[in-house]
Symmetry: C3
Subunit: 437 residues, 3 copies
């Protein structure tokens, strides 16, 4: 019974968070009143050197992407807007607390930007199962998802010393295959019973564009949030921006050329226009060159839109993967492309382009990695992509099996994509009788 299980899970987890935060979490030194002393010690003369001023604007932009961007992107269904934006809100609010803890355990000096990013993978995964699971299942999915993410990220970034500024691998590839695997395990053969609800209406498509646009605009902040101060953040923002711009044009082109009627399809405009931002993630901080970013975006727009037209139906019919939002086209394929682009461009890095210090700064060729060559780094990047894939598919399959237990209150096939299951839905629009004045 969802009436009891949802509050139970919420309370137990929030109380656990309070206890764990009480034991493990303190302000870092830049947020502590003792910073006045630290400033003197470190000879910092201006308050503007506090990391807050470097990171906070990007942090807020990522915030907007998570809550408004992902939330509204999923409001496109005609009668699942409450669930889209409301449950997205719930799992983000829980996920960020859990991510803060996990991140703290795995990398004691994690900064804010990083923490936020950690929860995106669960929101991506939500896209695959949108409308087909209960809020309790979403919370369970989030708990496991962030735990797996923290381990996977530790292996990729710290053990392999791979670079992934915008998270093409650690976030998008992992998150998308995590969600798709869950959706595969939870396959519903009779989902067509709620076919009449699995579509948009005019205004729900406009709401979804709010999500699309905020994601598109702030993606440069997302990809640059955890880059090196200075030129690193600057370059990541430019690369992402150009890749996204290029994607828009090819998405429109393919949507018109291959669409059934030659007309544009809002599903493509809402989703595929973002694929370039995913694919440029790993290499965002690299010297990808402006035209390189445009090329990445160019192909991602094509591949992602074709994915919506040909691959999504194939996945559903043949592989029994029901992917409500088409995250395979928006996150999985572009994420893998991003990993490959990252590996190639890392392997091709040269002292002529980056400068000696540049190579060290960008790839952290220092300490135990001091003698690593760019070509070798390329190999490690490729290995990182495999790690992300394995964690995504393996973890998703496991969590899918957990979620298959008949205790989570998931909706029957005929009640999918319908807010009535979990929300008090107001009367319908047409019943408004405008009073005569």
């Amino acid at each position: 019974n969802i009436r009891l299980s949802l509050p139970a899970v919420c309370f137990v987890w929030q109380v656990s968070m309070i206890i764990l935060f009480g034991v493990f979490v303190r302000y870092n030194e830049e947020a502590d009143t003792n910073w006045v002393y630290k400033k003197k010690e470190k000879n910092i003369t201006s308050d503007i050197e506090n990391d807050f001023y470097f990171r906070y604007p990007s942090f807020q932009d990522v915030h907007v992407m998570i809550f408004v961007g992902f939330g509204f992107l999923m409001t496109f269904l005609k009668r699942y807007s409450f669930g889209a934006v409301g449950f997205n809100f719930l799992i983000a609010a829980f996920g960020l607390q859990w991510a803060l803890l996990m991140q703290g355990w795995f990398s004691p000096l994690g900064d804010d930007g990083k923490i936020k990013i950690g929860i995106e993978n669960c929101l991506i995964a939500y896209g695959a199962v949108l409308g087909k699971v209960s809020p309790v299942q979403l919370l369970v999915m989030t708990l496991f998802g962030i735990t797996l993410y923290a381990v996977e990220e530790f292996i990729i970034l710290s053990v392999l010393n791979a670079k992934d500024a915008g998270g093409s691998m650690v976030i998008h590839t992992f998150g998308a295959y995590y969600g798709l695997s869950i959706s595969r395990v939870l396959y519903r053969p009779n989902l067509n019973k709620s076919n009449h609800m699995n579509g948009s209406v005019y205004h729900s498509d406009v709401f979804a564009m709010i999500g699309t646009l905020f994601l598109w605009m702030f993606w440069p902040s997302f990809n640059s949030a955890i880059c090196n101060h200075g030129d690193g953040q600057h370059r990541a923002a430019i690369n992402t921006y150009l890749a996204l711009a290029s994607t828009v044009l090819t998405t429109v082109a393919i949507s018109s050329l291959f669409g059934k009627t030659g007309k544009l399809d809002m599903v493509h405009i809402q989703n595929s226009t973002l694929a370039g931002g995913v694919a440029v993630g790993t290499a965002a901080e690299f010297m990808l060159m402006p035209y390189g970013s445009l090329i990445v975006g160019f192909f991602c727009g094509i591949i992602s839109t074709l994915g919506y037209i040909y691959l999504t139906p194939f996945l559903e019919e043949r592989l029994k993967i029901q992917d409500t939002c088409g995250i395979h086209n928006l996150h999985a394929m572009p994420g893998v492309i991003g990993g490959i682009v990252g590996a190639i461009s890392a392997a091709a890095a040269s002292k002529e382009v980056y400068g000696d210090l540049g190579l060290v700064n960008i790839f952290s060729f220092e300490g135990s990695n001091g003698t690593r060559l760019p070509t070798v780094q390329g190999g490690y990047q490729a290995a990182a992509l495999c790690v992300a894939l394995c964690f995504g598919i393996g973890g998703g399959t496991f969590v899918g099996l957990v979620l298959k237990l008949p205790i989570w209150g998931d909706p029957a096939d005929e009640h999918c994509f319908n807010d009535e299951m979990y929300w008090e839905v107001p009367e319908d629009e047409e019943s408004i009788i405008p009073p005569v004045l």
Copy 2:
């Protein structure tokens, strides 16, 4: 006649503003072309030290909260969205000019962040009377509200030297009781005549979520906007963020557990999820500790949601307070809780936790307050809460009586919650006949 009175009030007030600005307002030194000289005098080497770069991002976030956040939060009514977002726009645009003047008179060096915050109390008060008053009444309410606010804030912050970074007391407690008192005086015994308009439709609830999410996301900017540069702003943002996250989970839990049907209610998700941000306001800059913020948010989500379920009907039936948006649950109770949390945590402040310099910085224990002890500060904080309550209830009652005069063009009972009174409303959706192509 609203056709004449609204333009008259707008013109008279805007002309007054121009005259008063001409007499009283000049650029502060950081916005004046003479800053080049000041920089040399003060030996400032970088333009980034201009307060603009410290404050502008937070200032813009608070902007978004005021115009989009509050505006859209109130669009939930099925046919009062124009009034919600339009009149909110009007009173914010007027209020900020008046607040700028009042603030300048009471604290000559007020900075931008502070100014903006000053007008929130009127937007809060609007929530109580939404749909039941005319735009002229709103403008009068705003004029008095900001005047009272400036005096109250001067007493609390300057005379009592109480701290209230996020304004739990000076803004939320004051603003909420101001609005509730006005609503009490303007009690409409026959409001049930427009009951059929006092509710939401599906898409108006989605619009309201735009408001909720922007308020939620930018609340950390709001609470940190006027904190000390450096660790103060950093810490206030973290505390607010955690309190808000915690509130979401307990709001969902209570909404499901105590709701009539066991389903979630959008009213709770739209409003109660924000209560933690209100309640952590006063103590935002203190060393509340991350788990402390979570605890504050935990209880506020519970109390606020229970307020919507049990207290709002009680207020209406017994105390004759018709509170359209439930500001008693979102601002009044959490604001009082925030004041109490602030008093307790100030009284408990110790040199061990804050450091000598920290205590001085956070509580301004300097000059005439140089010998004040934290325990005494706690007492002053409690006194400040009483001041805010008195100003809110007293001022609201007075302004309510002014607004009861039969000259303001307020709507009849059967025309409440209806845009038709003051707006040209377009034809209805269903009359669209999609032309065949």
Copy 3:
């Protein structure tokens, strides 16, 4: 056939962009890995001196204005929301790439803020022809518009050394007359066949308010984005902010006073409230004084709203200019006013108010302009306004003739303002049958 021509144009142009970027565009030094060396050379000690941290928050705000602001502002039509927000997205994404190139050719050290602003003029022009042209025509219009803009801006800013921080002349005047001239050439005598689609519904007006509010809030960032660091940006933000606040009140007043029924009209609130931001653009960085900004906003609100009531019908009937969004009232007239205000306030600049260094900084009285007097600067400002007008009207007429060629797939008169032409539109709202649970 739009099915082929739209993809063809998109592909050809995107491929051209990639080639041109490959040849011409490199990272500037602050985004290059070699910045570490440059920092040492220039003796820069802190990463926060990277221009990224000065500009990025404003850059993002301008972003939001372009994509969400302009996009949603135009969603007010009942059945053209997909086209409004979708085609705006398309031309912005193409335009920013082309603007980046043009700007680079004309001013080798152009920074990000500037680039973004360059594309606004095409979005403004879109407002005049909204619903009456095909996406291919929009792309052609954008290509020419940005090319003309780059030349015009070069003449105004570099040759004439005129100042135009917020682009009242170079963006708004030029863009508006460019769009109006195109609309004149493309005059459709039988447009009344689609009259039933040329209007709003309740929720489309609420969507449009999202656009209005984001434009309103971030206009201070727009006008200050390319000002001098420090007091210049600070002052421009304050001036814009006050002008906008003042405009809101006079817009409401005139809308109520002169409206047919004495009720407020959403068209005025959505558009005229922004006129003050346009008109204060040129003089934003000048010592306009706070009350001066209020006065500018005061009159612009009046003029713009009266324009919607009296001038727009006149333009359509007599001058055969069909101006869907009323850009003549929002951009053209306020832009010209802005140019005039700029000329007068430049001519009136004195050493007493600005200081010696201030005059030099604000008006770039150095090098070959070292001996120019403020009064002469006023003359150059007036000349700049004429240049903007000529480029707008001349360029628009030429491009209009190009777009009149019968090869672009524009909609027939009876299919204007209708998404069905270019978009797959979902079934209607009323056909939702809420399933019984």
